[in-house]
């Protein structure tokens, strides 16, 4: 817990959230990056041959887009929590709107409500233009201090 606390504190001071993102193995596998513009955090999934689902288009695997958006929500919530810990996903619901082509993908998360126990998130993912999203998602996370995933050391 101490390490996560320290990482969140450092991230908020320096504006560099990458060490936090790299804590999650699958985020590293996908190559998720995190860029901070003032109060807005935009997550970026750089084009990566390993993330391709359909090689003939080629298009990013649908699961990769979904997971990227889920991770976006997880990080956004984690950064907002007063008591650092990783929120626990309850459910995730995704609408695919356009094919994700083999290029950089961006996502942003809006925490529409952060209660004592549950956080409500909506996530938008796009490539060329934010006004032409490739997917939108809704997710609920458990924020109970007792259920937050602790960190060793």
């Amino acid at each position: 817990m101490q390490q996560l606390l320290e990482l969140v504190r450092q991230a908020q001071e320096s504006g560099d959230y990458q060490p936090l993102v790299d804590l999650i193995p699958y985020a590293r596998v996908l190559g998720v990056q995190c860029e901070c513009y003032g109060e807005e955090i935009i997550f970026r999934l750089p084009a990566n041959p390993g993330n391709i689902g359909n090689p003939t288009i080629p298009a990013i695997h649908g699961g990769v887009i979904a997971s990227f958006m889920e991770l976006t929500a997880l990080f956004q919530l984690t950064l907002q929590l007063s008591q650092p810990g990783l929120a626990k996903i309850i459910d995730f619901s995704l609408d695919y709107m356009r094919a994700g082509l083999d290029r950089d993908t961006f996502a942003i998360c809006d925490v529409s409500r952060q209660g004592r126990r549950v956080g409500n998130c909506s996530v938008l993912a796009w490539q060329e233009r934010k006004s032409k999203p490739i997917a939108q998602a809704r997710a609920h996370f458990l924020l109970d201090a007792g259920t937050l995933m602790p960190v060793q050391r």
Binding site: P25, I52, T56, G63, L71, F92, L94
Partner: protein, 161 residues
Amino acid sequence: MTQEEYAGRCTRFLNAQPHMMKLGIRLIQAEKGRAVLVLPVQPQLISPVLDTYLHGGVLTTLVDAASSVSTLCALDRFELCPTLDLRIDHMRTPAQSQPLYVSAECYRVTRSVLFTRASVYQDDPERPVAYAIATFMRPEGGSIESEFRRLIEGGDNATIA
């Protein structure tokens, strides 16, 4: 189609997708309307820092893959059906030390839409880690890229990417 034919089609479909190869997601069983996939335990998904299993999203990828594969077992010919909607409920935290299995069923086929449901489990299918439902759009007029179809349907000129 026989179980072997379904299994061949599903395996070629998985092997044609770079991200499935990267995660080592493979088919365990295929039959009419149903498929079982596994995500093996692997170092690249285990965190040395976080002590709880944090696949953080990889379960979502696994479910999306399995739901998609189950549609291959419900259609006479291969059709590339994009996902329209996917919903996952997480019931318990999976254990880090065990593979994740997912059993997916395509339970309804209409002219335009396919409906699937899936459950994710580890040691006991009766104690699921997560449930998921999804919908897929069938291509209009059954038209799909023929190159990809040939790849998945196998045959003489089939090569695995």
